[in-house]
C-alpha cells in the first residue's frame, strides 16, 4: 500500500486534466459548458480518492515501528545534471528525482490537506452553483491546486517541494483572479503572486546554497550532510544560518508573515471556498511545513530560530490589532489567519515544532469552518460582505450560526475545544523554553483574538438586523451541500484537540507520533526552564482568563452598550484610523516599491519608444536618406556620365561632320594629299 503514495497527488491531477481539457474542448467546439454533475463528480471524486488513499497509507504507516516510519517512492528520475563541485571539494551530480516520501509529518499534512480539501470541494458545489460560465475552470484549478499542494508535502527533495510551492502560488493567482471581470480581483491576484515571488527568490538562493554545501537537494541526504558538517549549533551568520534565513524568507512570502503579509487580505477577492482552502487551511501553511521539515537545519541555527519566533509573534500581534477594526467579514478572517500563522512560526521558533504542526491542524479545521460559514452568510445575503449591513442572522441561518459559533470559541481558546489545546501548547512551550516575552505577547494576542472573533459573531448573528430591505426578504439557510461540510468541520474543531493533551492532562499522542520527524536536539537560544505542571496550569488559567475577558468585552461593546464602542472610537479617532487602515503598510509599499517599479516601467517604456523605436525609425530614416542619396547620385553622377559620353560623341560628330562638305573637289584634294603622303613615305623608306 505504501508503494502507492505517488497516486495521492495523481488523482487531483487527473481531475484537473479531465475537467479542464473536456471543458476547453467543449467550449471551443460547441460553445456550451460541460454538464455540471460531470464536473462536480470528477472534481470531488478525485479528491475523495486521494483522501481514501491517504487514510489507508496512514493506516499502513501506523503498522510500522516508530523508527521505521518512513517510506520513499521514486516515480522517475527527473533531472540528471552534470557533476558540480561542492564547498567541501567533492563532486556531486545535480540529480533530482520525482520522488515522494511518507513519514509522520507528511502523513499529518496529507490528511489535513485531503480531508479539509474534500469538504471544501463539496461545499463549493453549493457555493458556485450560480456560476454558469467558468465553473469547470474553477474546479479544474481547485484540482490543480490539490495536486500541487500534495506534491509539496509529499516531496522527498527541496526542488520537487519547490515545484509544488510555485504551483500553489500559481493556483492561488488563478483562483484569486477567478472573477475575471472584476479588476480588483485581477489586481489582488497579481499582488499575491508578486509578493510570493519575493519570498521564492530567497528560497531559490537558499536551495542553491544547500546544494553547494551538501551536494544534493534530497531531504535524507541533506539532513545527513548537515549532521556531519555541523555537529554543533552554529553561531550567527555562518552558511547554515544563511540557508535557514533564506528558506525562512521564502516561508515569509508564502505564509504571509511580516513584511510579506500584505497579499493575504487582498486575496479575499477570490471566491470564499478559495479563501478557505488556500488561504486558511493549506497553502499558507506550506511555509510552516517547510520550516518544520527542515528542522535539522534550523535546530543548528538557533539565532535564526529566534528571528523566526520574533517575526512570528510580531506578525501575530500586528495582524490581530488590525483585525479588531475591520468591517468586511472576510477581512477579519484573513487577518486572523495571518495572526494564527504567526503563532505557528512562534511555535517553531521556540523549539516546539510539534506544537506548531498541531496548531496547523486545528487551525485548518476551525479556520476553514469559519470561512465556509462566512461564505454561507455571504451567499444568503446575496454577496454582501460588510458586517455593518448584517445582524440578527441567527434566526435565519441556524446551522451556519452554531457551526461558526463552535469555530469561534475554538479559535478564541475556550477550554475543551481544539484551539485551546493547540494554542496553549504553544504558549506553554514559549514560556518553558525560555521566552517569557513571547509568552506574554502570545497571551495578549489570544485575548485580542477572542475579542475580535466574538465581535464578528455578534455583529453578524446577533443584535438588531441591519440588513438592506431587498436582502432581508430573501435570506434563508444554505443548502445541505454547503452546511453538511460545516457540521463535519465543526466536529473536527471540537475533537481534534484531544490528540494533543497537555502534559498535566494526559498523553500527547500527536507529539509522540511526530517525534521521529524532528530533530531531538531542538532548541532555541534560551534557557530551558524546567517547570512543573503547576506552572503550566497557572499559565493556562491566565490565558483562559484573558480569553474570557476578550469575549466579555466583545459582548459589552457590541451587544450591550454599543454606544460605548462609538464613544471610544471617537475619543481615539486617530489611533483607530491608523489601525483600521492597516498601519498604512500597503501605502508605504506602494510608495517605496510599487511606484518605483511603475516608474521604472514607464521609463523603460519611454526608452523603448524613444530610443529603441527611435533607433529603428532612425535606421529606417537613414535607409531612406541613403536611398535618396543613391537616387541623387544616380541622377547627377551616373546620368551625367552617360550624358557626357553622348555629348562627347555629339561634339566629335559635330566636328567631323564638317568634313562632309558635299563638294567633290574637296574630296579630290584629300586624295591628292594622300597620294603625296604615300609617295613621301616611299621616298622616306628609300625606294
Amino acid at each position: 500500500m505504501l508503494d502507492n503514495i505517488w497516486l495521492i497527488p495523481l488523482f487531483p491531477l487527473l481531475g484537473f486534466l479531465i475537467n479542464g481539457g473536456f471543458g476547453l474542448w467543449k467550449v471551443a467546439r460547441t460553445g456550451t459548458r460541460p454538464p455540471k454533475p460531470f464536473v462536480y463528480c470528477v472534481a470531488c471524486g478525485s479528491i475523495l480518492l486521494s483522501l481514501l488513499l491517504s487514510l489507508s497509507c496512514f493506516w499502513a504507516l501506523l503498522q510500522l515501528d516508530p523508527q521505521d516510519r518512513i517510506q520513499e517512492v521514486e516515480v522517475f528520475s527527473w533531472i540528471h545534471g552534470p557533476a558540480v563541485q561542492t564547498i567541501a571539494g567533492e563532486l556531486a551530480n545535480f540529480k533530482i528525482s520525482w520522488g515522494f516520501q511518507l513519514d509522520p509529518l507528511s502523513a499529518v499534512m496529507i490528511l489535513v490537506v485531503a480531508g479539509v480539501g474534500f469538504l471544501i470541494h463539496v461545499y463549493a458545489i453549493g457555493y458556485m452553483a450560480e456560476e454558469e460560465e467558468g465553473f469547470y475552470r474553477f474546479f479544474a484549478y481547485m484540482n490543480l491546486f490539490m495536486f500541487m499542494m500534495l506534491t509539496l508535502v509529499l516531496a522527498n527533495n527541496y526542488l520537487l517541494m519547490f515545484v509544488g510551492w510555485e504551483g500553489v502560488g500559481l493556483c492561488s493567482y488563478l483562483l484569486i483572479g477567478y472573477y475575471i471581470h472584476k479588476k480588483s480581483a485581477g489586481d489582488a491576484a497579481k499582488k499575491a503572486f508578486v509578493v510570493n515571488r519575493i519570498g521564492d527568490f530567497a528560497f531559490i538562493i537558499g536551495m542553491l546554497m544547500i546544494f553547494t554545501y551538501f551536494g544534493s537537494l534530497d531531504f535524507t541526504e541533506v539532513f545527513h550532510g548537515v549532521e556531519e558538517m555541523f555537529p554543533m549549533p552554529e553561531a550567527l551568520w555562518g552558511p547554515l544560518c544563511w540557508i535557514a534565513l533564506l528558506l525562512f524568507i521564502g516561508a515569509m512570502g508564502k505564509s504571509a508573515q511580516i513584511p510579506l503579509f500584505v497579499w493575504l487580505p487582498d486575496a479575499m477577492e477570490g471566491p470564499t471556498p478559495v479563501s478557505a482552502l488556500i488561504h486558511a487551511a493549506t497553502m499558507v501553511t506550506a511555509g510552516v511545513y517547510m520550516v518544520a521539515r527542515s528542522s535539522a537545519i534550523y535546530s543548528r541555527a538557533p539565532d535564526v530560530l529566534f528571528i523566526v519566533a520574533v517575526v512570528g509573534i510580531c506578525t501575530a500581534l500586528l495582524a490581530a490589532s488590525i483585525a479588531l477594526f475591520q468591517q468586511d467579514i472576510k477581512r477579519v478572517l484573513a487577518y486572523s489567519t495571518v495572526s494564527q500563522l504567526g503563532y505557528m512560526f512562534a511555535a517553531l521558533g521556540v523549539g516546539a515544532a510539534a506544537a506548531g504542526i498541531f496548531h496547523l491542524m486545528t487551525h485548518a479545521f476551525f479556520k476553514a469552518l469559519l470561512f465556509l460559514g462566512s461564505g454561507s452568510v455571504i451567499v444568503a445575503l446575496h454577496h454582501e460582505q460588510d458586517m455593518r449591513k448584517m445582524g440578527g442572522l441567527r434566526k435565519h441561518l441556524p446551522r451556519t450560526w452554531w457551526t461558526m459559533g463552535v469555530a469561534t470559541l475554538a479559535i478564541a481558546g475556550v477550554p475543551g475545544l481544539a484551539g485551546f489545546f493547540s494554542k496553549d501548547e504553544i504558549l506553554w512551550r514559549s514560556f518553558s523554553n525560555g521566552h517569557p516575552l513571547i509568552w506574554f505577547v502570545g497571551v495578549l494576542v489570544a485575548g485580542m483574538t477572542a475579542f475580535y472573533m466574538m465581535r464578528m459573531m455578534f455583529l453578524t448573528f446577533h443584535g438588531e438586523e441591519r440588513l438592506s430591505p431587498e436582502v432581508a426578504s430573501h435570506v434563508h439557510e444554505s443548502p445541505s451541500v454547503m452546511t453538511i461540510p460545516l457540521v463535519i468541520l465543526a466536529v473536527g474543531a471540537v475533537f481534534a484537540g484531544y490528540l494533543g493533551l497537555p502534559a498535566w492532562l494526559g498523553p500527547n499522542v500527536f507529539e509522540h507520533f511526530l517525534e521521529p520527524a524532528f530533530e531531538t536536539r531542538y532548541h532555541a537560544a534560551g534557557e530551558t526552564v524546567h517547570a512543573a505542571h503547576s506552572t503550566e496550569i497557572l499559565l493556562t488559567l491566565v490565558s483562559v482568563a484573558l480569553a474570557g475577558a476578550g469575549i466579555y468585552l466583545a459582548y459589552y461593546f457590541f451587544l450591550k452598550r454599543k454606544e460605548k464602542a462609538e464613544q471610544l472610537r471617537q475619543k481615539y479617532a486617530g489611533l483607530h484610523r491608523i489601525i483600521r487602515d492597516k498601519y498604512y503598510v500597503d501605502e508605504a509599499y506602494d510608495f517605496l516599491f510599487v511606484n518605483r517599479a511603475k516608474g521604472l516601467g514607464r521609463f523603460l517604456s519611454a526608452f523603448d519608444n524613444n530610443v529603441v523605436d527611435g533607433a529603428v525609425n532612425g535606421s529606417a530614416t537613414i535607409t531612406q536618406i541613403s536611398a535618396w542619396l543613391s537616387g541623387q547620385a544616380d541622377i547627377h553622377i551616373v546620368d551625367r556620365a552617360v550624358n557626357l559620353v553622348a555629348e562627347i560623341f555629339e561634339f566629335l560628330s559635330t566636328v567631323l561632320r564638317k568634313i562632309q562638305t558635299g563638294l567633290v573637289q574637296r574630296y579630290a584634294l584629300f586624295f591628292v594629299i594622300g597620294i603625296i603622303l604615300v609617295i613621301s613615305l616611299y621616298l622616306y623608306m628609300g625606294v
Binding site: 562632309q660 558635299g662 563638294l663 567633290v664 573637289q665 579630290a668
Partner: protein
Amino acid sequence: MVDVTHYLILSTIVFSIGVVGVLTRRNVIIILMSIELMLNSVNLNLVAFSDRLQDLSGQVFAVFVIVVAAAEAAVGLGIVISLFRNKETVNVDEIDLLRG
C-alpha cells in the same frame, strides 16, 4: 640624247598640271578636260616605255586607255547634261547635295 627619262618627266609635269586643274577649276567640263590631260600623260608614259623596251603591249594598252577615255567622256558628259538640267549650273562647288 632624248631618252625615256625626258618623256617621263614630261609625263609627270603634264599629270601635275591635270591634277591642279581638277582641284582648282569650278567648271565641271574643264575638270573633265583636265582628267583627259591626266589620261594622256599616262598614255605618253606607256608609249615611251613601249619604245624603250621594244614591247608593243604598251601601245596596245595605250589604245585601250583611249577607248576607255572615250567611254568615260561620253558617260561623264551625259551626267553633266543631266546635272545641268536639274541644277541649272555647271559649277561643282554649288553642288553639295551630299553635305552633312
